[in-house]
């Protein structure tokens, strides 16, 4: 875990004092809202439908117990006792009072956290694979470079007024769990001839014009990475369309100019700025890397785990669904589902946060991760501790065995909170999860990603869901459009639109028809929905969606 240096702490403290004074001046009437709004957004403070919302960055999704406890404390002290974890590894508080926000920011600073650059046209929170440092398939831990990028991008003077927001994600594995192809820049750590470097992908993004990122450079050496990334952002900063905010993201720039043209411009810029990186970044990187050294894993028997696995069917079901392979023998990665059936995806109560902090401290080398799929991860757990952990999770509504299943839904806050939303997301997610839990079908269905966005901006990643749902306002009524066959992994793909949307009442039955069609069509129980879709395409699902509904209506 990286801890703030004196410089980091001083910087955040100074920003917090500045913001405290800005809030005071706003309340006293010395600043108008037009003057104040850019200042509050720079500090992650939005105004939503029912209240302000404070978005706090969780860099590369990594927390320790002290940070998680402080998030719980803030939820209790200044909010309504819960927080919402987002698809960009942030936590959002939905009910802060303007006058309390400076105190909230000071409380965050006490545990090396802040809300800077979680909004506005800047480089946002750098996200990473939530299995970082633990995954069996990892080339290298992506967090040190993510931290290097965080430091480089925070208050970067050239990049405070970009054409639009800019998002970077990093993975250390070939298996992409960080959706890097749907980011402005996606970095994949690769090894070539024994040397560690980066495959750089640019121009991915979802939103109103979804694009899959393209490889701009197959191998950038470690010492060239910061100047290379700076060259990319710099080229876009000049070239990006400031005339039309819908065309301002780098995906449009890459699309309009072509990847070869952008590559040539980046090379040219890189050659100019490379000499100005005198190696300080590499010295810093070495220090950061040391802070992320792996814990000392113990080599002890796992008999307790095996016994529980054999004798306790509830534990077995949870273990089968919620554990992932760890690189150390005898260890597992624990995924704690924040998707209990019928609850709000990504929400955790303050009490649950404290429980997870305690578990991390006691059993998990004091490490926690937030996934872009809105779950919490204990990355390093010895298998012999799993039965005890499961027992505690169960008591606190945190033992739902549904990771990767149909009820493990990504949903943005939608019109229940968000001022930009065109329809609600949360109730749709709640109803789908509840319905398939009633049907007792979700383990039978297997690997299935449903992703729901409440507007075209696609915070809920609907384009890359196996089933994507987009909530729209059609003539003053909530309407839900379906896409199928999206993929969020290294084989990223934008889903295909099925046709006309469905009302809030009709969307859950529509999802059911798709699922039953899949169960009928799959070649065997081992063929996943994604594979069946790849084999058969849209047609049979479209027919199930629309023809069956018509046949039913005609009866």
């Amino acid at each position: 875990m990286y801890n703030y240096t004196e410089f980091d702490a001083g910087f955040v403290a100074e920003r917090n004092i500045q913001f405290r004074h800005q809030v005071e001046r706003r309340i006293a009437g010395h600043l108008t809202e037009d003057e104040f709004k850019p200042l509050r957004l720079m500090n992650g403070l939005y105004l939503q439908l029912h209240a302000y919302m404070l978005r706090v960055a969780i860099p590369y999704g990594t927390l320790d117990a002290a940070k998680m406890r402080q998030l719980a404390f803030i939820a209790d002290r200044w909010d309504k006792g819960y927080g919402h974890f987002t698809t960009r590894q942030n936590i959002q508080y939905n009910w802060p009072k303007l006058s309390d926000v400076p105190d909230m920011l000071d409380a965050l600073a006490k545990v090396d956290m802040h809300a800077i650059q979680t909004s506005g046209n800047t480089i946002r929170n750098v996200t990473a694979d939530h299995f970082a440092g633990a995954a069996a398939d990892e080339v290298a831990d992506p967090r040190p470079v993510a931290e290097l990028l965080r430091q480089w991008s925070t208050d970067h003077p050239e990049f405070q007024f970009l054409p639009r927001k800019f998002k970077i994600a990093v993975t250390g594995s070939e298996n992409d769990r960080a959706v890097i192809k749907a980011h402005d820049i996606g970095l994949q750590i690769v090894e070539r001839n024994g040397e560690i470097g980066y495959r750089v992908i640019v121009g991915g993004g979802l939103g109103r014009t979804p694009m899959i990122g393209k490889v701009i450079n197959d191998f950038v050496a470690q010492e060239d990475l910061l100047p290379y990334v700076e060259a990319v952002v710099s080229v876009w900063n000049l070239l990006g369309r400031r005339d039309n905010k819908y065309k301002a993201r780098i995906k449009i720039t890459v699309h309009e100019h072509g990847i070869d043209d952008i590559r040539a411009r980046v090379e040219e810029r890189f050659n100019i700025i490379r000499p100005s990186f005198g190696g300080i970044d590499q010295k810093l990187f070495a220090e950061i890397k040391a802070a992320f050294a792996a814990p000392e894993f113990r080599d002890t028997p796992t008999a307790l785990y095996e016994t529980a696995y054999k004798t306790d069917p509830i534990f077995r079901s949870w273990a089968d669904t919620n554990l992932a392979e760890h690189r150390a023998p005898g260890y597992a990665i624990v995924q704690i589902s924040l998707k209990a059936h019928g609850e709000t995806p990504g929400d955790a109560s303050a009490e649950q946060m404290r429980v997870m902090a305690d578990l991390a401290e006691r059993y998990g080398h004091d490490e926690l991760r937030i996934s872009h799929e809105q779950n919490v991860i204990l990355p390093h757990v010895h298998k012999s501790d799993l039965p005890a952990i499961h027992g505690i999770l169960k008591k606190h509504g945190l033992a739902t065995a549904n990771i990767g299943l149909i009820s493990d839904i990504i949903a943005c806050p939608g019109m229940d909170y968000c001022a930009l939303a065109t329809a609600r997301s949360i109730p749709i997610a709640q109803e789908i999860a509840t319905r398939f839990d009633e049907l007792k079908l979700e383990h039978e269905i297997g690997d299935m990603k449903i992703k729901i966005s409440g507007c075209i901006n696609a915070c809920g990643h609907h384009h890359v869901g196996h089933i994507g749902i987009l909530g729209l306002d059609r003539a003053g009524v909530e309407n839900y459009q379906i896409t199928l066959g999206g993929d969020h992994t290294e084989n990223a793909r934008v889903g295909d639109r099925t046709g006309p949307g469905f009302s809030a009442d009709d969307i859950v039955p529509a999802i059911e028809r798709i699922v039953y069609a899949y169960l009928d069509l799959r070649s065997s129980a081992d063929e996943t929905f994604a594979q069946t879709y790849q084999r058969l395409g849209l047609a049979p699902f479209k027919s199930a969606l629309y023809d069956e509904a018509q046949a039913y209506a005609a009866q």
Binding site: R26, I27, G29, T32, E33, L47, Q48, L49, H50, A51, Y52, K80, N94, W95, P96, K97, L98, S99, T344, D347, M415, D416, Y417, R424, I426, P427, Q430, D473, G476, V477, E478
Partner: protein, 102 residues
């Protein structure tokens, strides 16, 4: 013929709490839509909007929104405004928890 002016209320968010407020007939801000002043004259609505916007020490994001006048006071014409006057659907938070009659 110009389009007929549909009835409206003036709404905003309170500066400190951020919650939804409506302008009353005596230029106060209320948390209850039922107490909002329904504006039926376009010129009057535009003027009241300008005056409301000037109260930037009290409110943020002032705008006019359509309502349907009724016996229990104005009702929201659009579902977004219905959520704003009620609160989120996943928890009993916001207006629905704070007000006895919304």
């Amino acid at each position: 013929m110009p389009k007929e002016f549909s009835p409206k209320v003036i709404t905003a968010n309170a500066l400190i709490e951020g919650d939804v407020v409506y302008l009353t007939a005596d230029d106060q801000w209320t948390r209850c839509l039922s107490e909002a002043d329904v504006l039926t004259d376009e010129a009057d609505a535009d003027l009241r909007l300008l005056q409301a916007e000037a109260q930037s020490e009290l409110v943020v994001g002032v705008y006019l929104t359509d309502v349907i006048p009724g016996i229990d006071g104005p009702q929201p014409a659009h579902f977004r405004e219905d959520f704003r006057r009620t609160g989120p659907s996943n928890y009993n938070h916001g207006k629905q928890a704070e007000l006895n009659n919304v």
